[in-house]
Amino acid sequence: MKRKKAQDKTRGERAEAGCEVDEDRALDFYRSMARVRKFEEAAAQYVREGSIPGFIHAYIGEEAVAVGVCGALEPGDYVTSTHRGHGHALSRGLSMKSVMAELWGKRDGTNLGRGGSMHIFDASRHFLGTNGIVAGGVPLAAGAAFAIRYKKTGQIAVSFVGDGGTNHGAFLETLNIAAAFDLPLVIVVENNLYATSTPYACVTKTQDIALRGTAVGMAAETVDGNDVEEVHATARKAVARARGGSRPSLLVCQTYRTVGHYEGEPVAGTYRTWEEVEAWKQKDPIINYKKRLIERYGATIAEQLDRIDEEAGQEVASAVEFSRNAPFCAPVEATEHVYG
C-alpha cells in the first residue's frame, strides 16, 4: 500500500496535498469526532449495564472516516450506512438525542424505537438507514443516485461499507453497475481489516481494495482513514466528481476499530493480538488530531479542544438522560407501518 501514516507527514506535505483546513473547520472536525466517540463510549456502557436492550457495534477508532466524508456533503445528499453506523448518523446531523433514544428503543427515537442501532433512518436528513445486512445499503445508495440523476435534482449519494462487505455480491455487482451507468455515487470502504473476526487477508487474494474500483472503470483512491483531513480532502474530490460529472468513485479508508466487533466481545485475544490493538491505538484519529492541532495553532487551542470534549460529554449525558426517561411506544403500535 502506497499510503503514508498520518504522523509521518509533515505539515508542509499536508498543506501541499490540499488536506489542511482552516481553524474553524478543524475545530468542527474535532467536535464531530469527539461527539461520536463520547456517544459510543456511553452507548457501550449502557449496553453493558443492560439499560440499552439489544446489542451495538461501536465505531470507536474509525471516527475520522464518517466525519471526513460527511464534512464534504450537502444537506440534501443521500447516505446509506452499515451495522456500525452511529458515527455516520451523527455526522449527517441526525439529532443525538433521537439516535440515542432509538438505541433505547423509545418512542422519541429517530424511528419510534422500531429499528434500533442497525436500522436508524431519518428522512429529513436523507439518511437511508444503518443496515443489519452487510453491503445491503450499497445498491440502495446506487438507486438513490439513479433517482437523483433521473430527476436532475443535483444531489449525490454516498454508501458506507466495510471491508467485509467488499466481498459481498451486493457490493461487487453494484460497483459494476455504478460505473457502467455513471451514477453520482461515492462508495466509501471502511477497511478495518476484519470481517467480524476474519482477517481480510485470509479470505482475499488481492489486498488492495481500490483495485476493485479500477477494475470496473471507476475512480478509486486509498487514504489513511485515521486522518480526518486526508479523508476529507479525498472525499471532496470524489464528491465533486459525482456532483459535477455524475461519475462514481471508490474511496478506501484504512482504519481500525479499537474495540470488539460488538460491545461485549473481547477487544483482543482471539483473532487479534493486544500488540496490534495497542499499535492502532497509537494512531487514534482523535488523540492524534488533537496533538496536531495544538502543534499547528499553539497551546491556546488546547483549551478550546478540552472545552469541546467537555461539551460533547455533556451533550451525550443529556441524550442519555432524555433516552432513559422517554416512553416506549405502546406494544400494540408494533402493528403499525406494515403497509401504507
Partner: protein, 329 residues
Amino acid sequence: MFTDNDRQITGIQAIQEALAEEMRRDPNVVVFGEGIGERGGCFGQTKGLWNECGPERLIDTPISELAFTGMGIGASMAGLRPVIDLMYIEFMMDAAGQVVHQAAKVRYMSGGQFHCPLVLVAAIGRYNNAGPHHSGCYYPMFMHVPGLIVVVPSSARDLKGLLKSSIRSDDPVLFLEHKSLFSKKMAVPEGEFLTPLGQANVCRVGTDASIVAIGQMVEYSLAAATSLAKNGIEVEVIDPRTLVPLDEETVVRSVQKTRRLLVIDEAHETCNAAAEIATRVIEKAFDYLDAPIVRLSGAKVHVPYAPPMEQFVAPSPERIEQTVKELVA
C-alpha cells in the same frame, strides 16, 4: 363482467398497455431489467415502448439481480416508482435478501418515514417444458413476509388492471405472471381501467361447491366446472387475484353458500397458498362446512422437463373434475 364487444388481446399485449399507460401518466415510472430496452423484454413485455420512453426510462441491466433490485428499492425510497423486471421468479431468489430485508421492511423499520413504491415483475409457473429452473411458482415464500403485496393474475384483463394498480401502490408488489397467459388471446375492455388490489373475482357462480384457484388453475377450474355442469354439478369458482392482501370475505361468503371447498394451487403443497386459504376458512367458517376442505396442489417435487412428467406434477382439469365429484358425493 365480459361483454361480446370486448376485443381479444394477448396477456403480453395487456402488460404492454398497462406499462405504456402508466409510464405516460407518471414520469416517475421507470423499468429495470435484462433486455427490457430496445429488445422489448424476454417475453415482449416492453415491446413498443422504446421509441417513446428510451434508455432513460427502460434501463437494460447487467445480470446482477441483487444489485438492480436493490437499486430499484433505493430509487423508490428517493421518489421513483420502479418496475423491476426479474424475468423468471427463479432469478428473484438471487435478490431475495433485498426484497425481504429492505423493500418489505423499510416502511416498518423507519416508522413510516420511507416507503417503497415498486413492482417486482416475474413470470411463474409450469409451461411448455421449461425445466426445473424456469417453472416454479414460489409465491408462498413471499406471502410469508409482512410488507409485501403478492399479486397473481389469471387473465389478460386482470394482468392489465392489476399491473396498473400495482404500479400506483405505495407498497412493494410482487406481480407474478403465469406464463400460460402470455400468448393467449383473451377479452380485455378498450381504454383505461384499474382492478383493485385485495379483491377476489368470482369467475363463475355456483351452488354445490366452491373452488378457490390461483393463476393457471383458474382456467383449469373453469374447464372442469363446464364439464361438471353437464352432470348437474354447479361449482362456484373464485380467483383471489391478490394473495396478499387476501379477500377472505368473498371466499367465506361463498363457502357459507356452498358448504364445500376445494382449493387449487400449482405451488408445492407444503405451506402453499392453498394451505393458508384453507386455514382461514377453517378459522372463519368451520361450522358452515359439510365436508373436509380438500386441496389440490403442485406435487412436493421439482418441476421436471419431460412433458408427461411435467403434466403429472400439477393439478389438471380432469383431476379437478374428479375431486369435485368426490367432494359433493
